[in-house]
């Protein structure tokens, strides 16, 4: 097999799996849709968390912002939002197919752009923070976004919003949201592949390794961080809008801003698969979602314990994640040259302790 083919095969496999899945297992379309959204979560988190070393715990805020923007647009185009969401006015509203699809299309775009604008403004505030302060700061943003939305009566407060219902058959509905989620995630995946291979990827990794030095080298770090976050926010915003419509009923604390579930899952999935790699988030999300679905069915009562155990095992034994572990085990497969002979010449005894080696080298120098 030639190299070119070998290189494109996994990508083709991913796309093919995505297209084939709903035809092979039509009854599982909804689960697969959630899987693609999970992959999207992991990929977007990895842009900052993995490639730039900025561990955000608040990315879920963009998901919620997108969800609410889309809902407000979908309803607001045709009705008075405040009346629609009044906690007990509860008007019964019919949306025609035309109104539904127009509302959704406009809503999705607005959700993406709105979340992006939100991320830029937010980035301007929080990118001054580093390390744990950044993590806690962003977590605070996500938590307060949920609370603020919950206190805002115009969008129904804690009572939530029942979204317009898809006008077609229920099976078509599943497929419709599957196609949208799959397309969105694949676009993101190839976009990330493209930008990681270019200047952006190098700059991002430079920021991760040493931000001051990167700045000293003339990299406009703030700009890269903002762009990275804006990409994440754009895709998360749209995914939130899609997810809200899939669920059909949204409310701030549990659905739109689920900080302790989805908000943490996106981090865990990246850690599991291998942060800072293109494929790590994809593999991590797939395994995580499968593990969760299976334990939630077979280990009812113990499911959270099993999930906790998985997280502990992955953090203790696979700190670099699955892809990181494979890379270390078979580095030559990844184009990392390990020439034993050359190494042996410069450093004959690889097994000796670093302190010993240092002593030996100093002695040799003297």
């Amino acid at each position: 097999m030639n190299t070119r083919l070998r290189r494109t095969l996994p990508f083709a496999g991913l796309v093919f799996a995505g297209i084939a899945a709903p035809f092979l297992f039509p009854d599982y379309t909804f689960q697969f849709t959630v899987l693609w959204v999970m992959i999207l979560f992991a990929l977007t988190w990895d842009i900052l968390g993995g490639q730039m070393g900025y561990n955000s715990l608040g990315n879920i805020a963009f998901f919620g912002v997108g969800m609410y923007i889309c809902a407000v647009v979908q309803i607001g185009l045709y009705y008075d939002v405040a009346q629609y969401t009044a906690s007990y006015g509860a008007v019964k509203v019919e949306f025609t197919a035309d109104q539904y699809f127009t509302g959704l299309a406009v809503g999705l775009i607005a959700a993406g752009l709105g979340a992006m604008v939100f991320s830029v403004i937010l980035g301007w505030v929080v990118f001054g923070l580093r390390g744990p302060y950044f993590a806690i700061g962003t977590l605070g943003v996500a938590l307060s976004a949920g609370e603020l939305t919950g206190a805002w009566d115009y969008v129904g407060g804690g009572g939530g919003i029942a979204l317009p219902i898809y006008p077609g058959e229920p099976d078509d509905r599943s497929l419709f949201f599957y196609v949208l989620s799959f397309t969105l995630t694949i676009i993101l995946f190839f976009l990330l592949r493209w930008i990681y291979l270019g200047r952006f990827g190098l700059a991002a990794n430079a920021i991760r390794d040493d931000e001051e030095k990167a700045e000293g080298m003339g990299i406009h770090t703030m700009r890269y961080k903002t762009v990275g976050w804006a990409i994440a926010a754009f895709f998360l915003g749209i995914s939130g809008a899609l997810f809200g419509n899939m669920i059909g009923f949204i409310e701030p604390l549990e659905v739109a801003f689920p900080t302790v579930t989805f908000g943490l899952f996106m981090v865990v999935m990246c850690l599991l698969g291998g942060r800072g790699t293109l494929w790590g988030p994809v593999i991590g999300a797939t395994l995580f979602h499968t593990f969760k679905e299976v334990t939630w069915i077979y280990l009812l009562g113990w499911q959270w314990v099993a999930l906790g155990a998985l997280i502990v095992v992955s953090v203790v034994f696979f700190q670099q994640g699955i892809v990181g572990w494979v890379k270390e085990k078979w580095p030559e497969k990844f184009g990392i040259a390990v020439d034993d002979r050359a190494l042996a010449e410069t450093d004959p005894d690889l097994d000796e302790a670093p302190s010993q080696r240092l002593r030996r080298q100093t002695e040799a120098a003297q």
Partner: protein
């Protein structure tokens, strides 16, 4: 880029596909002589206390019906069985599990989840697939204004929960020679669809009497601390304190009312029985008013469990640790009875025929009468208000059902 990536990707997707498929052995709606009813309910998360009460109620209903021979459809006897999933108390999960029950498990009959929020996520999906759902734990009014045809609820809607406590406060004010409009009310509600609906009902009644709201707080997200609200209550000394926050909210309220020694002449809280506050906090809960969908002292009677009191006895004998049977469990059992009744009247497993039969339900049960309005809510049964008097729950309002006089102002030993 290499073989290993390819291998890993293939592996990941293979595992995913195998896992998902293996996870769902296709259950038919009826297997042999067993009818399988599906339910996604809260075993974990903030609604888990009530989720477990409800599932106990479902299980007891199923057990009782199976012991009495089962369900007769087309001349054949069938047993009932429930397939459960855990919705983690979040509507996010409910919607996924609804798909799972209907699409992968092939379930055609649904028992509702716990809470209005999760029921709101479930209803659009069952409606789309035209799968009938009998629910016992989603009380929000807005569920029944959507024109859902496949949704049936055995309970009274939530705006009725605490409304009678307002009328009672007005009555007491008159008795004390004050005007009802002098009554000052403090309110604290969880920020969720159910409690907001309860709040809406309370505000309607407060307006009717021209009472004054002095505190209108939302409970925090985790419901573990409401001392901020209670400190204000201490300072402002309202005549009535109303709280709604499911079981967790009720437990927190009872605990902190005790700790902070809150002395208000009248306190009304939802979910007292479900939170087991008498067992946990003893005399400190004396004279709390608790709205209930059902009480074991009411004179209801039905074919399967006998009287309300007999149900109460059976439930306590079946499950440990209950001093009072929460109405959440009783109404869950009633929902199972509604299913059985519908199966037999429809004499079929066809969902359309079942829907028709459900809409024509007219039953007398231990839980009260059950008759559905076109919107799907039960209109044949009232809400009653009970007061904790020396550790016992006694019905004090409305007067038609009252067995005891209301104690006012509330007296707590040692305060």
């Amino acid at each position: 880029m290499s073989k290993h990536f390819k291998f890993l990707t293939a592996l990941a997707f293979g595992v995913a596909a195998a896992g998902l498929v293996a996870a769902g052995p296709a259950h038919a709606k009826v297997e042999g002589d067993t009818i399988i009813i599906g339910s996604a309910i809260s075993f974990t998360g903030k609604y888990s206390t009530n989720g477990i009460h409800a599932s106990n109620g479902y299980d007891l209903g199923v057990k009782r019906i199976n012991e009495m021979g089962g369900v007769k459809v087309g001349g054949k006897m069938y047993k009932l069985k429930i397939k459960y999933y855990d919705d983690e108390s979040t509507p996010l999960r409910t919607a996924q599990l609804a798909e799972r029950l209907i699409k992968q498990d092939g379930i055609k009959f649904i028992l509702g989840p716990y809470s209005s929020a999760t029921t709101k996520a479930m209803a659009p999906i069952t409606e789309k697939y035209k799968i009938p759902m009998v629910e016992a734990e989603g009380a929000s009014r807005s569920l029944f204004t959507q024109g859902y045809k496949y949704l049936f609820a055995v309970l009274s809607t939530s705006e009725q929960y605490l409304a009678s406590s307002i009328a009672l406060a007005a009555e007491m004010a008159k008795k004390a020679g004050k005007k009802p409009s002098d009554v000052r009310v403090a309110m604290a509600f969880e920020n969720d669809p159910f409690s907001l609906d309860v709040r809406a009902g309370v505000i309607d009644d407060i307006k009717k009497f021209g009472m004054k709201i002095v505190i209108d707080d939302k409970l925090p997200r985790d419901l573990a601390d409401m001392s901020a609200t209670l400190t204000k209550v201490k300072a402002l000394k309202p005549d009535l304190l109303v709280i709604s926050g499911h079981s967790k909210g009720a437990a927190t309220a009872a605990r902190q009312i005790k700790e902070l020694k809150i002395d208000v002449p009248m306190i009304a809280i939802t979910h007292c029985e479900a939170a087991k506050i008498v067992k946990k906090f003893g005399a400190a809960t004396n004279d709390f008013l608790c709205p209930t969908q059902w009480a074991e002292t009411l004179s209801y009677k039905g074919k399967y469990f006998g009287t309300a009191a007999e149900y109460d006895k059976l439930f306590k004998a079946t499950y440990d640790g209950y001093r009072n049977v929460p109405y959440q469990a009783a109404q869950a059992s009633a929902a199972v009875l509604v299913w059985k009744d519908a199966f037999e009247r429809a004499n079929s497993f066809d969902t359309e025929k079942l829907r028709q039969a459900l809409s024509e339900t007219n039953m007398k049960t231990f839980y009260g009468d059950i008759r559905f309005a076109p919107g799907g809510n039960n209109i044949a049964k009232p809400m009653v208000l009970r007061q904790i008097q020396d550790g016992k729950f006694n019905v004090v309002a409305p007067s038609k059902w009252a067995s005891h006089k209301v104690n006012w102002p509330r007296k707590v030993p040692g305060m």
